[in-house]
């Protein structure tokens, strides 16, 4: 009886771990797409709206979905408190939100590089930087989609099967 309960717990735990890994794989392309949308809106705010950066960030935090919205919210708050440079505020809010994103180190570098250029130049130069970041994000997104298609199913079945193997070995 206890054996069966233990077996069930092991199966549930490993299957859950597999599904969690698969979820992380499927979250990455979605968050990259959201980031691209955020970049486009930021470009629109800068080019056509001539909006100051903190208002633009505030607007973006309202438009975006959950993890990214709190990133732009923190960024706007840091800018409004007015004690830091844009780069520091961007980096700090990026580090703060990073744990809840499913992105990789490469994306972190791209975003923090973008933060360095933010608010330093005229709007045409800024637009070029946004274009560059978009191109980088595009490349990462194809990579992420590729990985998702390849490994998502594998993670699910791998979790379940490794649980099964563990049970048979321990029986």
């Amino acid at each position: 009886m206890f054996k069966l309960i233990g077996a069930a717990i092991i199966i549930i735990a490993t299957t859950w771990a597999g599904f969690e890994a698969a979820k992380k794989l499927s979250m990455r392309p979605r968050q990259l797409r959201q980031l691209k949308v955020a970049m486009q809106s930021l470009e629109a705010e800068i080019m056509f709206g001539h909006t100051p950066l903190k208002e633009a960030a505030r607007k973006l935090s309202k438009q975006m979905a959950k993890p990214l919205s709190s990133f732009f919210d923190t960024f706007a708050n840091r800018l409004e408190s007015g004690e830091t440079t844009v780069k520091e505020a961007w980096d700090d809010s990026l580090k703060k939100i990073w744990q809840s994103l499913a992105l990789k180190q490469g994306e972190f570098e791209i975003l923090s590089q973008f933060g360095e250029t933010l608010g330093k130049s005229d709007k045409y130069h800024q637009q070029k930087q946004i274009m560059l970041t978009m191109a980088h994000l595009e490349r990462e997104e194809t990579d992420a989609l590729d990985r998702q298609g390849k490994y998502e199913k594998m993670m699910k079945s791998l979790g379940f099967l490794s649980g099964l193997l563990l049970i048979i070995l321990l029986m």
Binding site: K150, M154, S157, L158, L164, I168, M171
Partner: protein, 67 residues
């Protein structure tokens, strides 16, 4: 005899799961991991079989070599 049947089922189960793992890892192009998994499963089963065969040898020894 009861123990023997148990061990056969266990070997069958390990074989089944390892075969599944091999196929899945092979499909996503992780051939080297697939081979390692199969190798470890094989070694594990080999140890179980070795213990059974050892029992058999002990029995033969006790039958033919009177001590």
């Amino acid at each position: 005899m009861g123990i023997d049947v148990d061990i056969i089922f266990k070997i069958a189960g390990v074989g089944l799961v390892v075969a599944f793992l091999h196929t899945i890892l092979d499909q996503v192009g992780k051939k080297e991991y697939a081979q390692w998994v199969t190798l470890f499963g094989f070694i594990y089963i080999l140890f179980m079989v070795a213990s059974v065969v050892e029992d058999l040898f002990q029995k033969i020894k006790s039958v033919f070599l009177f001590q």
